[in-house]
């Protein structure tokens, strides 16, 4: 027997009683051959980031979920093509969703499954295809009752106080498969129809929605006969086809976490502060030479010096003569707040998204202290451990787009700040020196400022000062 078969791996409950996990990354691709227990994915639960070992040896046939997706426990996440032989591993196959796993042992388990899976079926209690009884494997925890986000039932009911009308769920609505139905039912019905567990099961097996069945028993109790009669009625719609292929032409990710926060901050900033952006390209050869000299200096041994370090220092020096860029528009109090200190924000791309932690009182730091602070800030941001206090109270920001090889841009202000400087990449370029062409190291600076606070004159002066320091660091002598 060399035939192969498809085995699905369903997301298990990786902690104790977890209902969902986020796929962080796949370590394998479709077509890869994997061995038993080979790490195939990294998954984050509410409790931990864990690696998933492959339950099968075989070939990856399909990855059902994209990285970044939050998946409910019990949903298939990957399918494998495995040899169809009665290996010990084969017996372990979580039963394939479509019931195509012709594996005898898997079938047996489906039959004897003691799961409380009824809940899942009941949630989608519509007159759809009869709910399949699937075994609730060990480690899969309690079956999740609803798909999607947990609903706050009580509140929903309060908001939708309606007399429960008997015809409330229209047959059209009920016939629509999927979560919408169950939610709607939850909202509109104050109590589930009265019946008994065996009858509920019968209804689920027959694909009958109890909401639609008139009860003839005492107190409106729905009896076994009621369900059978209802099921026999011709107008009961036959099993609606389950929506077939979910070929992923687009991926929908819920907006949450850092992404949500970033979006709100950007919208607020972009549509409150009138942005002006100016550009200046400067010859930073002297700065790069200074950097090389400092790196060779014993006093800077062990310090991480980069163009950002020098540029940050230059921003701090240039701010002394242009303090209006280090201020804030206080709309509520109708005041302009000028800061007599600088909390220097550095935009950092972190695993969780964009954050702008700031260095407190950066203007009072020596170059060495600044270098240490920058290193710590970026390291902390990179590991995602930046504390909320490090993210608040910034007065001006730098975004180092040069590390991505970008020259210039129109940065959006960190909300509440008056200016942001984007540092471009340092490149060799033809440059006119003493009326002759020379190859120099050149960098573009982009400055966005809040025009409510900063006029073109002040913004331009600041940018020019910054440029002159980077073009000739000795210019600092004239500024302090």
């Amino acid at each position: 027997m060399t035939a192969t078969m498809i085995k699905e791996f369903r997301l298990p409950d990786l902690g104790e009683g977890l209902t969902e996990s986020e796929i962080l990354s796949w370590k394998v691709a479709v077509g890869d051959t994997v061995t038993l227990n080979q790490v195939i994915a990294e998954v984050e639960t509410a409790k931990a980031v864990v690696e998933l070992p492959s339950p099968f040896a075989g070939v990856v046939a399909e990855l059902h979920e994209q990285p970044g997706t939050v998946v409910e426990v019990g949903k298939p996440i990957v399918s494998f093509e495995v040899d169809d032989v009665g290996s010990s591993n084969g017996g372990s196959a979580p039963v394939a969703g479509k019931g195509v796993a012709g594996d005898a042992s898997a079938g047996d388990r489906a039959a004897v499954g003691t799961s409380a899976n009824g809940a899942a079926g009941a949630a989608a209690d519509g007159v759809g295809s009869p709910a399949k009884r699937e075994p609730n494997l060990v480690g899969y925890g309690a079956v999740v009752e609803h798909s999607g986000r947990p609903t706050r039932r009580a509140r929903l009911q309060v908001q939708n106080v309606q007399a429960p009308t008997p015809e409330a769920p229209t047959p059209e609505a009920a016939a629509t498969p999927g979560p919408a139905v169950s939610h709607q039912a939850e909202v509109q019905t104050s109590e589930r129809p009265r019946s008994t567990p065996p009858v509920r099961k019968l209804a689920r097996d027959l694909g009958v929605n109890l909401e639609l069945v008139p009860g003839t028993g005492p107190g409106g109790l729905i009896t076994r006969e009621d369900v059978q009669n209802f099921s026999a009625t011709p107008e009961a719609p036959a099993g609606a086809p389950v929506s077939a292929a979910q070929g992923q032409r687009e991926t929908r990710t819920p907006i949450k976490g850092v992404r949500k926060f970033t979006a709100a901050a950007m919208v607020q900033s972009a549509f409150t502060a009138p942005h002006v952006t100016e550009f200046l390209t400067v010859d930073v050869t002297a700065t790069m030479e200074l950097l090389a000299r400092l790196k060779g200096n014993k006093a800077f041994e062990g310090y991480k010096l980069t163009p950002l370090t020098i540029a940050a220092k230059a921003v701090l020096v240039a701010l002394r003569n242009n303090p209006s860029l280090n201020s804030r528009w206080d709309e509520a109090n109708q005041e302009i707040v000028r800061f007599n200190y600088v909390n220097l924000g550095i935009a950092a791309a972190t695993p969780r998204g964009l954050t702008v932690p700031n260095i407190k009182d950066a203007d009072r730091l020596t170059l060495r202290e600044l270098s240490t602070a920058l290193t710590e800030l970026t390291d902390t941001a990179r590991t995602g451990k930046t504390s909320p206090s490090e993210l608040s109270g910034g007065t001006i920001s730098i975004t180092n787009i040069g590390v991505f090889g970008i020259d210039a841009g129109t940065p959006i202000l960190n909300p509440g700040e008056a200016a942001i400087v984007a540092l471009g990449a340092v490149r060799k370029a033809p440059w006119v020196v003493d009326d002759e062409l020379a190859v120099r190291q050149v960098m573009s600076l982009s400055l966005s400022f809040d025009h409510r606070l900063v006029d073109g004159e002040q913004g331009s002066r600041f940018l020019a000062d910054l440029g002159s320091i980077l073009a000739d660091p000795a210019m600092v002598m004239t500024m302090i």
Partner: protein, 389 residues
């Protein structure tokens, strides 16, 4: 000397004078070590005789057991990640403490484990399926305790120390020379049960060994927060002699355990052993130690790995032949495969099984309830089967 519980102070590579097997009433500060982390055999005048029968063959066999239980641990962890086990408490890093102690026991000794002693269960002769089925949620117990003289694992922290002491008091009444051993962790020494057990064990001079695997973490609580003295100093307050041994040194663990068991058999009363080791994995598969633990600490302890240490000793002795390596690997592979298949092929428990072990003898009330429940289940028109348990 009494302060550092973080394992940082564990560099007394050479035993100090005054660490006596005969009168170890006050040994807290010294760490008994017979094999250094580099695999060098350190001779010790008092304890060497307790392991002098451990020859080349036994060393290889200890190595095999330690390797096999590490493999059981890895396979079970994978099975949990694959949804085949509900939970698993890893033993990674504690192989020497578990194998050294359990291999010192006689068959008629009785052992009361916590939930992490899967390696001990393996040595005592529990079937792999018996180890797996509790963690799979298939049964409320794993093995027949009377078959292998190993009680069912306790999830309640430290409660087994009371069971052990009570059993040991029974042994005294029987006049037997059986010894009793209770396993627990560092966190358990802060529990009332363990302290109460020590009171009774000391009062009755019960033949019980309290074997504490100090793996440095009570879930996320470091041991240094729980105790300002070394754990081996705690029992001395009850008048129980204690030993502090390098728990990653299988020979030291063996020597100390044998000393304690011998004392118990000869009517010398209880002993407390603090095996200083390290939980290299999470508390359970539902835990993420990176949230509370310094990765450097793990690295420090990886250098003291119990299996690596024994490997180095075997290499130095020229015992780690290709033949031995192949044999050990084959054994570990076979055990892992058996664990996997026995776990996966386990029949699910059936609804009526819940009534099976409530009483050891027939009970009309339980029969009645079983009958009612059975008829209720039958009303679903499904055949009700009795399960395999």
């Amino acid at each position: 000397m009494l302060t550092d519980q973080a394992g940082k102070g564990v560099h007394h590579d050479t035993p100090r004078p005054g660490h006596s097997a005969q009168n170890p009433l006050r040994t807290g500060g010294d760490l008994l070590q017979l094999v250094s982390p580099d695999g060098e055999r350190i001779s010790h005048p008092e304890f060497d005789i307790w392991v002098k029968d451990v020859g080349d063959e036994q060393l290889c066999s200890l190595y095999e057991d330690m390797t096999v239980i590490r493999r059981i641990d890895a396979e079970a962890t994978a099975l949990q990640r694959q949804g085949e086990l509900a939970l698993w408490p890893p033993l990674l890093g504690q192989e020497a403490a578990q194998i050294g102690s359990s291999r010192s026991l006689r068959d008629d000794d009785f052992v009361f484990p916590s939930y992490r002693e899967s390696g001990v269960a393996y040595v005592r002769g529990a079937h792999l399926s018996e180890i797996a089925r509790v963690w799979r949620g298939n049964a409320s117990y794993g093995w027949d305790p009377l078959r292998i003289n190993l009680a069912t694992p306790q999830i309640i922290i430290g409660s087994q120390s009371l069971h052990a002491t009570g059993y040991a008091m029974g042994v005294q009444l029987d006049g037997a020379n059986t010894a009793v051993l209770a396993y627990f962790g560092d966190g358990a020494t802060s529990e009332g049960d363990v302290n109460e057990a020590m009171v009774f064990a000391a009062s009755y001079q019960a033949p019980v060994v309290f074997f504490c695997q100090n793996n440095h973490w009570a879930i996320s609580e470091p041991v240094r927060v729980q105790s300002h003295v070394q754990l081996a100093d705690r029992p001395t307050g009850f008048g129980i002699p204690s030993m502090r041994v390098d728990g990653n040194d299988v020979l030291a663990v063996m020597a100390a355990t044998r000393v304690a068991l011998d004392r118990a058999r000869k009517g010398g009363g209880p002993t407390f052993i603090e095996a200083v080791t390290y939980r290299m994995g999470p508390h359970t598969t539902a835990d993420d130690p990176t949230r509370y633990r310094d990765p450097n600490e793990l690295e420090d302890w990886a250098a003291k790995d119990p299996i690596l240490r024994l490997r180095r000793l075997l290499e130095a002795k020229g015992l780690l032949t290709e033949d031995v390596e192949t044999r050990v690997k084959a054994k570990a592979d076979a055990v892992a495969a058996e664990l996997r298949s026995s776990c996966i092929d386990m029949p699910d428990p059936q609804p009526l099984d819940v009534f099976n072990h409530v009483y050891s003898t027939p009970n009309s009330w339980i029969e009645r309830q079983k009958d009612h429940y059975s008829r209720y289940l039958n009303s679903f028109n499904q055949p009700v089967e009795e399960g395999a348990l």
